[in-house]
């Protein structure tokens, strides 16, 4: 069995967001790039499953649609423990474009389990995983918070509004994962970093596809009005403000 983890390359979560070119482009100057947090957890869980599978899972691969600039992020995934990496050489244009690139590759190189995150922390699309499953005409399970294997059987948990569900599905399938999938992301060891340099990172040309959406411009939220401070000895004043001014209680 083979597992693929789709990796989105995103700015570090503490990045101060700025735009350039008349607010039409994200300002990448000085930005640290990381593996999208969900994808990092997905990779961690994939490795745990492989280690516990007694050889049934033979390989964990990672894939990214991106320019050469994303290679350090893929190398980090290799250092964490992925066996090999694929980069599809194209600047991501929109979710449909990215999912189409992934689907073309996967039609020729099938995997049993494909893991995507619930969203990329940059453009918050929440689209690529679902689109990929549809392009491959496979089952998908979204908001997955646990994946376990019991022999051949795959058991998933997903969060729903006000609860959770346990599901079973057939392979191949796409799981779109979120909080809970692994507790902490695995950190690369020194040995992992050394080994990552020698692991295969294959670059594939992009296929011809179109993007269906485009960003016209960006804006930052308007600055917040100054916080009204209330004295700790006068809690009643806060209650009155919430009642009479904000009218929220």
């Amino acid at each position: 069995m083979k597992i693929l983890v789709c990796i989105s390359n995103v700015p570090d979560t503490t990045t101060k967001i700025r735009f350039t070119d008349n607010d039409t482009k994200f300002d990448a100057a000085g930005v640290q790039w990381i593996i999208n947090p969900w994808d990092e957890l997905a990779l961690t869980r994939a490795l745990e499953l492989k280690e516990g599978s007694g050889g049934a899972i033979e390989k964990i691969s990672v894939i990214n649609v991106g320019s050469k600039d994303t290679e350090p992020t893929l190398r980090k995934a290799l250092a964490i423990g992925a066996d090999d990496a694929i980069r599809i050489d194209a600047e991501p244009q929109d979710a449909y474009f990215v999912a189409s690139q992934l689907a073309e590759y996967l039609k020729a190189n099938p995997f049993d389990i494909m893991l995507c995150g619930i969203d990329s922390s940059d453009y918050n699309g929440s689209l690529v995983g679902g689109m990929l499953s549809e392009l491959l005409d496979l089952p998908s399970v979204s908001s997955v918070s646990k994946i376990n294997m019991d022999g051949e059987n795959i058991i998933l948990n997903r969060e729903i509004d006000g609860g959770s569900e346990t599901l079973e599905t057939t392979v191949p399938f796409v799981a779109i994962v979120q909080k809970g999938i692994a507790l902490e992301p695995r950190i690369p060891s020194m040995r992992g970093i050394m080994m990552a340099r020698k692991k295969p990172l294959e670059v594939k040309p992009a296929v011809e596809t179109e993007a269906l959406t485009e960003f016209a411009g960006f804006e930052l939220p308007p600055p917040k009005a100054k916080c009204k401070m209330v004295d700790a000895e006068n809690v009643n004043e806060l209650v009155e403000l919430l009642h009479n001014e904000a009218k929220v209680i």
């Binding site: 979560t13 449909y96 922390s121 929440s126 729903i160 401070m229 919430l242």
Partner: protein, 325 residues
Amino acid sequence: MSLLVYTENWDGKFKKLSFELITYARKVADQLGTEVSVVSIGNVADDELLKLGSYGADKILKVEDDRLNVLINRAYSSIITQVADNINADIVLFAHNFSGKAIAPRVAVKLKAGAVTGVTNVPSSLDPFTVKKMVFTNKAYADVIVKSSKKVLTLFQNSLGVEENPKPAAIEVFTPKLDDDDFKTKVTETKKITGKVLLTDAEVVVSGGRGMKNPDNWKPLEELAEVLGAATACSRPVSDEGWRPHEEHVGQTGKIIAPNLYFALGISGAIQHLGGVSSSKHIVAVNTDKDAPIFESADYGIVGDVHKVLPELVSKIKELKASQG
């Protein structure tokens, strides 16, 4: 030219979220000069379906099938696409919640529609079709152009509110074609949290951070939530420590919420925390540290010890509620 909304039901009932979606759909349909059709999947009584008419739905297509009482992504997206094709819908609208995120991308591919998720406003232009959405986890907004003739949108919660706009809605039964392949995933167990206000529904959310010091201190926080009919939430370290259940964790890696009122009690206001809550309409912060970053995002603040302020707050709000009868 037509517009289709998918709204889910919760044990046969709709929620405020459903009415907000219809309100939004009505506004967009009026811009386009078209109708609002709704597809409902699963067993919902007709009088419940007709409630959607109060917010501007013209036509309700219901699909009932016992296999569809739980969400199966493939089956649901197939049904919604069949309805969209049948009424020739140009725009298909979902909520930006668990089910919307699960189905919208599949429907978008089937219709070859450009998709925009987490939309916060009605289109600012119809040609080119342009909508606003949240990006960088609440840190910025983007205007997105959809170039394809068909469009799929998911609406960010609590963006526009609910407005009544009664229409004499008509209910029709829709019978989709489904095959066994659509049911390859099977739900074997469902666990529901009962007797609590759900975080994603709540108008008011009371949230505690590490400044609460230990899990035994949550009583007054729960009491505050109870007097306000609020949901309880927490910061990530609090759920990581196991002080509170995981489903309460809000922030970039937890739930993203947008209530009318958010109480941040003993929460420092880290950027990843704010990512989940900064769309709240009003934020109240209580923190011992006057320089805590949460005060930059709050509307009302108290510099003080949460263990002293919280009981006081509960008793004053109880007095207010009592005086209102």
